[in-house]
Symmetry: C2
Subunit: 284 residues, 2 copies
Amino acid sequence: MSGRYRRLIVLTQYLANHPLDQVSLTELSQQLGVAKSTLSEDLVLVKDTLEHHNLGRVESQVGVQGGIRYVPDRNRTQHSLRQWSQALSDPVRMMSDGFLYMTDLLFNPRWIDPMGQLLAERFIHADIQFVATVETKGIPLALACARFLGVEVVLLRRDNRLSEGSALSINYLSGSSRRIQSMSLSRRAPVRGGRVLFVDDFMKAGGTARAAQDLLADFDATIQGVGVLVATVAPEQKLVEQYSSCLNWDEADPQSVKPSTWAWELCQRTSVPKEGIEHDGGIR
Amino acid sequence: MSGRYRRLIVLTQYLANHPLDQVSLTELSQQLGVAKSTLSEDLVLVKDTLEHHNLGRVESQVGVQGGIRYVPDRNRTQHSLRQWSQALSDPVRMMSDGFLYMTDLLFNPRWIDPMGQLLAERFIHADIQFVATVETKGIPLALACARFLGVEVVLLRRDNRLSEGSALSINYLSGSSRRIQSMSLSRRAPVRGGRVLFVDDFMKAGGTARAAQDLLADFDATIQGVGVLVATVAPEQKLVEQYSSCLNWDEADPQSVKPSTWAWELCQRTSVPKEGIEHDGGIR
């Protein structure tokens, strides 16, 4: 009996510390030194308890490997989406030059972590090896997302710094302001040949994401997806083919930052999407 | 009996998701709907199991409030300190101009999170309300530390950006390179009157920390502590009175990045420090 106490505690702690990770039942049963059938009974207890208390879900994965995945509470994610859309729709955050002030929220783990979870769930089947972002304000979202995906962040710098050694640089026209911008990546960055998710806080025309794609191509790294916190509704045609935004902002109606359809629907799902990522019809 | 299963799962999940947080026994017993005596029995099971499996410690806090605190495994932190010192002592990371390349490790959650935990434990009794950092490379450490302390990060910018609105700026001479640098903080940053921990990736003379202290003073915010990942041994006298570095680097002997005394000792403790933070005799 006390063996079961012990296993429930170890199982719960393990799952809580490995959110979104696919865990093999075979490995778990070996580590805990119990038969798979006993482990399955334990897991039913953990699953039912967590779900009953709104503490997240334990999802079974079928297939050759088989396994389970702990998904932190989606109600929390949905609540966070609602809070973001309310906060960013507040007129005090609108600045005279058309920017939204959101640095304070971006750098608050309680606000940004659920959005990182959302993007990680969105791209969970895309076999992502790196999350890339351009300094500075996209960094917290990129780190949160990378933590859930179990990968590291590749930092594109705005300018080449002494502490990065030699670097490849690219100049580009930002799609919205038509200003010349540049970004660079240290030749030491261990991204060569990797599958990359590009993450940023804000997207208007998509020029930054496009430039990142070009710069990473010089490292033989390919962008498998683009995830941003807020995208503007216009221009509808962005410079990258596909992207996923947690929130959409219609600048014609400033106080209207709204959760995107996929994000809202994902929060209502009772399981992680089975196939690859699906992109919105509305925004692409 | 199944009531105990349920409670062990909920308790373990709660503790794993609130590392370093002081949790009141009274509140916990109310939330779980059990008497404190029953809760105490449950906690003994959780505590013994986690400690037996090297999954962290559950520490009891005496005092008027009473409570418990979950501390993630310090063996992991110590292992991480060892990995950092080995990686940074590798000659391939030494660049011709005297910089250490460490961006890849700074932006890897698996590497930086344990260091955030270390600084959070160091300043756990300092009643910190904000973690401040200057862009860019200190951001991951600042975010990790802030997550453990349950607070947000205040971002000091290198230059004033359109998206920050009006800002206060300060120019200063960087203590080591004697170059003029500047940093600025948006007037919208919600740091006014707060108690701040300043965090950065690297410290040589301490000019950046000193400038941050001066800039934050204009917001009536006071720096209660300075925590960095790596500090150089020379100059011994820094521009800030006290600081805590996870690792020390003797530039005279380049391949010698070593864990600092307090950090190594903290990893060997079986409880969090009882009193306020204690600073090293060696480096101050």
